[in-house]
Structure formats: C-alpha cells, structure tokens
Subunit: 264 residues, 2 copies
C-alpha cells in the first residue's frame, strides 16, 4: 500500500437506535455518509458496529459464550442475518452517495480463536484499496476454532486491520464526545480529555466509565482495550462524537475537532 | 471432513426471471427451499447463480472484460450490491424454513487470476460444514490479480469447492431437463441423455446447444466446461430441471430422477 489508509469506525450506538431492536438510525447514516463523501479521504476503510442489530439478537441466542448446543445453530444464522441487514443499509447509503463501497464480510474471511482474530484473509480487501474501493467491514458473528463461534467486535477488526495495513489514522465515531476523566452524566467535575498518551491512559483507566447501554462486546473500556495495540503500533487514534454534525468529517480531514486524540 | 458434502447448484435462470432485470422468482425459491429442507441432506453446500441480478447488471458496466477505467468502479459496487440482494433473499428463505444458512461471500474470500480462482479462503466454510451450517455461495463480482476484477460464475465455485472438499455428489438445478443430443426446441429428434461418461461427452460436445438466454458466464457448454474437472475427480454430477417439482429433492436424496448423470 503506497498511501497509508485511514480506518473509520462508526459505532453501533450512532448508526442504530440501541434501545430499539433492529432499528437503524437512518438520518444519522445519511448524514455520516455525506460527511464521508465530502471528506473524500482515500484509501479509506469503514468498519461499523452492530448496535441494536447485533447485541440484543446475539444475547437472545447466547452466542457470546460460544457453541454449547445445537439450539444455537439457527440463532447464529439469524444473528448473522440481522448484522448483514444493517451492513446492507450502510453500503446502500454509501453507493447512493457515489462512494464505491464493497462489504467485506468478516464471517466469510475471519476465523477467531477464543474470541481473538486468528486468521483473516486480506487479499480481496487489499485489492479493493489498491483500486479505489471503500471496503466496509462490521461487527459480525464469526466462526471460532476453539469455541465454535463468537461475536467479533468492529473495534477488534479496526485495530487488527489498522496494524496490518499500517494505517495513517483511526477515527472512532461514538455517541459521546470522547474520553472523560469521569462519567459526565453523574460526575459534574468530569471533563473531556483532549489528548492522552498510552502512559497517561493507563493511570486514567480505572476512572473511565462504560457507555450508557450494556454492550456484549464492551463499552468504552472494551474499546480502549481493543484500540491500544494500534496506538502502540504508532497509529494516531481519535475518538469523536459521531452524533454531532461534522465531527467525523473534521477528524477524517485531520482538522481540529472536539474529541480525544490518543497517541503512543 | 468425515462425511463428504453434497454441493447443490441452483441456476440463476431458476431462481430469477432472467428476462426481467432484478426480478427474483419467489415461488421457485420458496418451493426449492422446501425441497432442500425436506431432503435434509448434510453436509450440504448451496451455490446459486446471479440470473437477472447478475448478468444484465454486469454487462451494463462492462465488468466481464475486467478493469479498464475508473468509470467501472461504481458499476462494480452496484453489480455486487445486486448479487448480494439476491443472496439475501435465498438465505432468508432458507432460514425461514429452519435451515441454518450462512452466506459465504465470494468477493470477500476469493481472488481470481484472469477469471480463474487463484485463492479461496475456506477456513470459515469448513468450520460451518463441521458444525452443521449450510454455507451459501453465489456467482459474484470478485477481484482479479491480473485484470482488476471479474465475474466469478457459480459453476466455477461449485467445481472448485467440490474438488477441494471431495464432495459426494454435485446436483445442478437448471431450467432444462438435462443434456440433450441436440437442441430440443429446434430439433425434434433431440433426446435427453440420461447417463454420460466424460469420454462420451467429448464426442457429444459439438452437438449440445446453449441455453435460451445470453449468459455472460456461458450457457450449458460453459457449465460443462466448469463441471468436467469435478467429474474427472470422480464426483458424480447430476443435472436436473429445477423448475420441475421434486427433481432437486430426488437428486439430493440420490433417488431415480429425470436428468443427466455425468460420471468419469
């Protein structure tokens, strides 16, 4: 890859209504697609979460704990089908805005081992980037060499791909402004951390609260756990509030924006 | 794989209305899904064609000739999106009939070289078979190491997978009764070939007509060209008319059925 790609993550809490099962946030998808189109960053990889298409369905069938009995088999198919449905909406919106999006389906090319990516076929994805396509990956049900199957979070995909492809920047769009020194909803003294190194982050970790709604793949702490290896690799990572207009746009362009920059 | 899998191909002319762009044949999909459910063959791999979701769209953007200029990039995304849409209908119908279907997206795991499969990641697919899932593949737009991209036919996938997984049987569901000694539409003396060896096939080849409608991946002759390597490998292949009730069911069960059996 001659030019280092940018990896954009759009959280499930941004592109879906996390309180309502299987409900996309179509205005947010439309706005974010326009921001991505306007930013016109290339090469670009998009990874999105499952939100209410993923977590509640996966929980219903107890997929997160791996294969236990054959009653989960149909549950896996149904959960994967839901995640694919959300992905189809995202890819469709991108194509409507003239972005040459092609999904890369994690379940078709990734094998995990006890929940961690063990192998990922990247030849088609690399060819897409080389040719100017925007590969779109997502949190997905995947097959696991140890537990049968698992839920692979978009965050783990982001970090793994960013490291493998030596990404220029990771932009993580979530439903909060970034990392806070405490929970801004309950702690009036909590303030947004604009810049943090991995060393400083370690000290802060115990004080960072989880996200609003239970997330089987982890909230903000889970996110940090997944993203840290990429930051350690030297990839600048910026967390922005993707529910606010133009934050994702500015972060993609490398402009100054409200959010948290994490650097080695 | 302890038990050898059966590979079922459903032709695009069976599951779509080939004369009407982007039009599925929902009654046929529903009936065939019931036949597959009733046959209850395991392990089973399903591969379907693109029909009117694939060929006319791919032709519109000149994808079959490979990458020539950037105007085709959006065309590739749109063609792939159409093929994905058909696949979603098939997988949905299978799930509705309690078949644990999970699609394996060729564009995510295959690279071709000048139109021939160069590499195909099969770890997820093998894990699916081992666990009792029904992997569903399809004719798809794929990336090509030489020409940029290409259309990969469901028939090439069938043959490649059947050989790699040492399939027990290939069942090919098309819109004719099987191979004829001539074109039954124009030649009143043409009759159905019930059994043919590869040696006999070679002699007949010049007399086998193409299928009704132009097919960018080849008609019956193209099908034979793709399937022959699997037959050479020792895999019994049976061509049946999937537009007729119970032919696919009987072929899956290994029962006597109207069609053409091809053996080494």
């Amino acid at each position: 890859m001659s030019v280092r790609p940018t990896v954009l993550k759009l959280g499930g809490s941004v592109i879906t209504d996390k309180e309502k099962k299987l409900t996309p946030n179509l205005p947010a998808i439309e706005r974010l697609t326009k921001e991505i189109s306007r930013a016109n960053v290339s090469p670009l990889i998009l990874v999105h979460g499952g939100g209410s298409f993923g977590h509640p369905v996966a929980e219903q069938y107890g997929l997160k704990e791996g294969y236990k009995d054959s009653s989960q088999i149909m549950g896996f198919s149904i959960t994967h089908q839901a995640m694919t449905k959300l992905n189809t909406l995202i890819v469709g919106a991108l194509i409507n805005h003239n972005i040459p999006a092609v999904e890369v389906q994690p379940s078709s090319c990734v094998i995990t081992k006890a929940g961690r990516i063990q192998s990922m076929e990247q030849k088609p994805l690399k060819k897409m980037l080389e040719m100017g396509f925007v590969p779109v990956l997502y949190g997905d049900t995947v097959f696991d060499s140890e537990t049968g199957f698992d839920i692979l979070s978009g965050d783990q995909i982001v970090s793994s791909l960013a490291i493998n492809l030596n990404a220029r920047r990771i932009v993580v769009g979530v439903d909060v402004n970034g990392l806070y020194t405490g929970d801004p909803k309950t702690d009036s003294g909590a303030h947004l951390i604009q810049h943090v190194t991995l060393g400083e982050l370690k000290k802060l970790e115990n004080r960072i609260g989880g996200s609003k709604v239970t997330d089987v793949t982890g909230g903000m702490l889970g996110k940090m756990f997944e993203l840290k290896p990429a930051v350690e690799h030297g990839i600048q990572t910026i967390i922005v509030n993707a529910t606010e207009t133009n934050r994702v746009y500015k972060a993609l362009k490398g402009e100054k924006v409200v959010g948290t920059v994490i650097e080695r």
